[in-house]
Symmetry: C2
Subunit: 565 residues, 2 copies
C-alpha cells in the first residue's frame, strides 16, 4: 500500500518527482518499450502528475487513481485505438487520457474550452465511445463486437466498468446479450467496492461473481490484483485475441495514492445551499410525518441526505445506481400509503423517464421527485447538465412541476409537495447561498410570485436563474415574477401580466422545447394577445463544460446579458 | 397436453361447456372452497370462457392461457388483496381478472369504457400495481415489502414475471436490491420460453437459473410444472409466510388450450400498412447499402421485420426486451461506421430516453430511429399510446424528428434518413392502407409539403393524422400542409404561410408540450406575427383504450371535429 500522504509533504513530494518516465510518454506506443519496473515508476509519477495538475476534488479523481496500473497495463497489452477500449463513466479515465496523447492538454481538464472530465469521441480517437452516465460500456462494446463480425476483422473489445456501475440495469441487458451471442468482448470489473456512495446490491455483497457471470454464459477468469502491473499485463496478455466473452475482476483501491489536503477550519456557516436546505427540511418533515421516506439511487451524499440516513435509517433507501428501480419502488411505496421523496439528479432522471410516466403519473401516485443538479452543472459538462427535465416532464399528464428560486421557496415547495395527491416535481440546481431562516414565504399552490413591481416590461423567470434576473433588474424599473409552477401554470396571473405590460420576457435555464417560453407563446396565441413576448432559455444545443458563470455568459443568461434584454 | 382444437369444434366445445364451476366463482374466497379436481375443471372452463368472451387476437390472450392454473393456485393459496400480487406486463392477467370480481365485466375487456387489457389500480383492489410495460413487477413488490417492514405487518409479496420480461434491466436492478435486503418477496418466473418474439438472452439460453439467482442472494426453490394445480398449490403453500427473498420457476406452455381459428384465405393484397411499407423499403435499402443493420428489442415481428431477418440474418439484431441496450448498441454500431436502424415502439422508446440523449445525440451519431405505434394505439390504451415522443425528443439537440403522413412519405423519409449525419427519427402509427407504389414523392430535407392550396385558413398537420385532415377538408376550400419535419422545422415555409392566411390551424396526434402547436406559437411570438393560430393536439391527459376511431372522436381529432375547426 502506498501510504496516504499528508499535505505537509505534498509540495515536497511533487517537487522531488521529475516525471522521469512520464516525460517520454505521449502515446501508448511509448509504453510498449518499457519494462515492468519502469511501468511501476510511471504509475507513481502518474499519481503525482494527475493530482498536481488537476488539484480537483476527490470525487472526481479517486476513481482514476484506482486504475493507474490497469490503465497502463491495458495500453501496454492492447493496440488502441484499433482495439476498442471503452471506459464506463468516463471520469475513471484520467490516466487513460494522459497516456493517449493528451498529457500536455491535461492541465485544461474540466476547464472551459479544455479537455472534458469524461471520455469523449470528439476529443480523441482513443475514446471510441464517450460516457458520463454509468452502465453503458458493455452495451457499447457489444455493438463494436457485432461490427467487427460484420466487417470480418479481428480486434479486441474491452469494457472497464466499476462494480457500482454494474448495478445499473443496462449493464445486465448487455451482459445477457453478449453471453448469448458469445461476442468477442473482455469485460473488466473494476471492483473498488464503491460507486459514489458505498456500494449496495446483492451481487456486490454476496461476491458470487463466478456464479453470476457463468450463469450468463460469460467466461469468468477470476480476480487480479489491480495494483500488480506485471500480473495485470500477463493476465490481459493471455486474454488478448482469445475469442468469446470473458470477464475478469480487478481488485483496486479507490483513491490509491491520494494525498490528503488538510481543510482549513471553517467558521460557523451563515449561508446554506439548496442541498443543505433540502436536507434540513427533510429532517423537519420526517419528524412531523412518519409516512415520509427517502429514496436515492446511489446519491445520498450528493443529495445532502447522509445525516438524514443516520437519523432515519429505516426510512432511507439507497438502491444503488438503479434509477428505474428507484422510481418504480417509490411508486409502490406511494401505493402502499407512504410519501416517498425520490431524489434524482436531473440528468439521471432521464434514465427513469418511462417509470415516471408509466408507474407514477399514469397511476396517479403521489411521489415527490426532487430533481437536483437541475440546469447547468458547470465542470461536469454536456453529459450532466440538467437542461432537459422541464421539457420532458411537461409532456406528462397528471404531474406538478415546480422550481424554487431560492432556499425558502425550496422549503415551502417541499412542505407543499407532501400534501399533493399526484406526482410533484421540485427542480433545483447545485449550490446557492441562502440563510437558513425558515420563516415561511407565501407560495400559494399553483401561483406565481410577484418579486418586484415595475412597469413597461415584466420578466417572468423559472427557478434559480431568477436570482440572476434579480441582480440584473436591481437598478431597473421593470417587474419581476417568479413562475414557481411550470405545471399547472398560473394562467390567471399570466393573463393579467399580459394585459398590464408592453413586453413580457421569459427566462429559464433549460432546453426551450416544452418549457416556459413555449408555454407563454401558446397562451399568447390562445388568447390572441398582442403582448410582445421574448423568450430566453438555454440554447437548443449541447453545452460544454466550464464554470457556471462562464457558461451563463456563453449562453447569454448572465446578469449582464439579462440587463440588455 | 390439451390438444389444440380446430375451429370446426370451437362452437360445439363452447356450447357444451356450461361453466359449472366458474358459474359460482366471483372472488378468490369462492376458490378456497374447491378441491383440486374442481380447480382443474375450473381451469378448463376458464380457457374456454376467456376465448369465448374476448375473441381477441392470439398475442393478447396466449400469455394468459399459459397461467390459468398458476392464477388459480395463487388465489387459492394467498389472501389477496391483503397479500400483494403484482403481474408483470398485465396482459397475462386475464384469468386473474376473471377470478377477482371482474368475471361479469370481462366481456368489456379492451373495449371503450370497459376493462383494461392490463392490470389497473383504478379497476380493482386486487390490482395493487398496474403494468402495461414489462419488467417493473419486481421493483414494485420490493416497494410493498419495504412498506410492510415499516408498518410492521406480515403479508406476502408476489411478483409473476415472464422469462422474457426478466431480460429488461429494471428486473435486474430490483433483484439485486431485493437480494441484498432479503425482503419478503416471492418472485415467480413464468417460463414459457418466449417474450413476444422468441426469447433471447444468455440466461434463458443457458438455463442456469439457480446459479443466477443464488449469486444475487435469492433462494431459488426450483422448477414447478405450471399446469399441475395440485403441485402448484403445495409449492406455493409451503412458501406462504416463509420469510426472505425466494424465487420459483414455473414452466408453462404459452397459449395452452388455444383454439385455432382458421383464417379465411385472402386475395392478393392491394393495400399495405406502414409496417409493410417499412419492411419492404428496409429490404430494398439493405440490398443497396450493406452498412444498413436493423436492431429491435423483441419486436421484430411487430415491426414487420420477420422476413428481413430471414433475408439478412447477420444484419438483424433482436436484443430482447432491453431498450436501453438496443439504443446504446445502435450508437456503437454507428460509431463503428454502420447505419443502424433502431426500431422501437414509441411508448418503449421512453425506456431509452437517456440513451438517445447521452449515447446518440450528444455524440452526434447517425442512428435512425423508427418509432412505431406512434400516437394512439387503440385497445392497448393508456400504457401504450405513443403520445409523448415528439415532446420528449424535441427537447434533445442535434436530432432530426419527422413523421410521414402516408406510406410513400415513410419510404421517402427512410431513404433520406440513411444520408443523415445525425440521429434521425421517423414516427408512424400502426396500420394504414397504402398502395405499395414506390413512385417517389418530393420530400425535400427539412421541408414541409403542400398538399392542397386553398384560402383563408391553412391547416398544418404532423404525421398520419394528416389523413383525417385530408378527408375533413375534401369539400372545403382551405389549404393543407403536411409538416413532415418537426425538427428542424421549416421556418421559411411557415413564415410564408403566416403571411398568406387569416388563420393557421395545427393538428398533431400527440401530447401538446414541445410539439407542433407550441413550436408554431413560439414562431408567432418571435416574429410578432398577427396570424390567428389554433392548435389541436391530444389533450394533456392519459387517454383510455378503445378503437382508434372512438378515441379520435373522444379527443376531437376525428374527421367530423376537424371539419368544424
Amino acid at each position: 500500500m502506498i501510504p496516504h500522504l499528508k499535505i505537509s509533504t505534498f509540495a515536497q513530494q511533487i517537487l522531488s518527482v521529475k516525471y522521469q518516465v512520464l516525460e517520454n510518454i505521449n502515446s501508448p506506443k511509448d509504453l510498449k518499450k518499457l519494462g515492468v519496473s519502469e511501468l511501476d515508476q510511471l504509475a507513481q509519477e502518474l499519481r503525482f502528475f494527475v493530482q498536481e495538475i488537476t488539484k480537483t476534488k476527490a470525487g472526481h479523481i479517486k476513481s482514476s487513481l484506482g486504475v493507474v496500473e490497469l490503465s497502463i497495463a491495458l495500453h501496454f497489452v492492447f493496440d488502441t485505438p484499433d482495439d476498442i477500449l471503452v471506459w464506463d463513466v468516463g471520469h475513471q479515465a484520467y490516466i487513460h487520457k494522459i497516456l493517449t496523447e493528451r498529457k500536455n492538454l491535461f492541465h485544461s481538464n474540466r476547464k472551459f474550452g479544455g479537455l472534458s472530465g469524461f471520455t469523449n469521441r470528439k476529443e480523441s480517437v482513443y475514446d471510441p465511445f464517450g460516457a458520463g452516465h454509468s452502465s453503458t460500456s458493455i452495451s457499447a462494446v457489444s455493438g463494436f463486437a457485432e461490427g467487427a463480425k460484420l466487417k470480418g476483422i479481428n480486434r479486441n473489445h474491452i469494457a472497464v466498468i466499476g462494480d457500482g456501475a454494474l448495478t445499473g440495469g443496462e449493464s445486465f441487458e448487455a451482459l445477457n446479450y453478449i453471453g448469448e451471442r458469445n461476442l468477442n468482448c473482455l469485460i473488466i470489473i473494476n471492483d473498488n467496492d464503491s460507486s459514489i456512495d458505498p456500494n449496495v446490491g446483492a451481487l456486490s455483497q454476496n461476491q458470487k461473481y463466478a456464479d453470476f457471470f457463468t450463469s450468463l454464459n460469460l467466461d469468468f477468469i477470476g480476480d487480479v490484483d489491480g495494483h500488480d502491473t506485471a500480473k495485470l499485463i500477463s493476465t490481459l496478455g493471455s486474454l488478448k485475441n482469445e475469442k468469446g466473452a470473458k470477464v475478469i475482476r480487478v481488485i483496486t483501491e479507490k483513491g490509491r495514492g491520494w494525498i490528503d489536503q488538510i481543510q482549513t477550519s471553517s467558521n460557523p456557516k451563515q449561508e446554506f445551499s439548496f442541498q443543505e436546505i433540502f436536507a434540513s427540511k427533510m429532517e423537519e418533515l420526517a419528524l412531523k410525518n412518519e409516512k415520509l421516506v427517502a429514496i436515492s439511487p446511489a446519491m445520498l451524499a450528493g443529495a445532502g441526505l447522509s445525516d438524514f440516513k443516520e437519523k432515519f435509517p429505516n426510512r432511507t433507501f439507497d438502491v444503488g445506481i438503479a434509477e428505474q428501480h428507484a422510481v418504480t419502488m417509490s411508486a409502490a411505496l406511494a401505493a402502499d400509503g407512504f410519501i416517498p421523496v425520490c431524489h434524482l439528479y436531473s440528468t439521471f432522471a432521464q434514465r427513469a423517464f418511462d417509470q415516471i410516466i408509466h408507474d407514477v403519473a399514469l397511476q396517479g401516485l403521489a411521489v415527490v421527485f426532487c430533481l437536483d443538479r437541475a440546469s447547468l452543472v458547470g465542470e461536469d459538462g454536456a453529459t450532466h447538465h440538467g437542461n432537459f427535465d422541464p421539457g420532458f416532464l411537461n409532456t406528462i399528464p397528471n404531474i406538478i412541476i415546480t422550481a424554487p428560486m431560492d432556499g425558502k421557496s425550496l422549503s415551502c415547495l417541499l412542505e407543499e409537495s407532501l400534501k399533493s395527491d399526484k406526482a410533484f416535481v421540485i427542480r433545483y440546481p447545485k449550490g446557492g447561498n441562502f440563510s437558513k431562516d425558515q420563516k415561511e414565504i407565501g407560495l400559494g399552490f399553483g401561483k406565481l410570485r410577484k418579486l418586484k413591481k415595475g412597469k413597461t416590461k415584466a420578466f417572468i423567470s423559472y427557478g434559480a436563474i431568477g436570482l440572476e434576473v434579480q441582480k440584473a433588474l436591481k437598478d431597473l424599473k421593470y417587474s419581476h415574477y417568479d413562475l414557481v409552477y411550470l405545471k399547472p401554470i398560473d394562467e390567471d396571473a399570466i393573463a393579467t401580466i399580459f394585459s398590464e405590460y408592453d413586453e413580457v420576457i421569459s427566462i429559464e435555464e433549460n432546453s426551450p422545447a416544452g418549457g416556459l417560453g413555449e408555454k407563454l407563446a401558446s397562451l399568447k396565441a390562445k388568447w390572441n394577445s398582442p403582448i410582445r413576448l421574448k423568450c430566453h432559455s438555454l440554447p437548443d444545443q449541447f453545452i460544454e463544460h466550464g464554470s457556471n458563470n462562464q457558461l451563463l455568459e456563453l449562453v447569454a443568461l448572465d446578469e449582464k446579458s439579462i440587463k440588455g434584454f
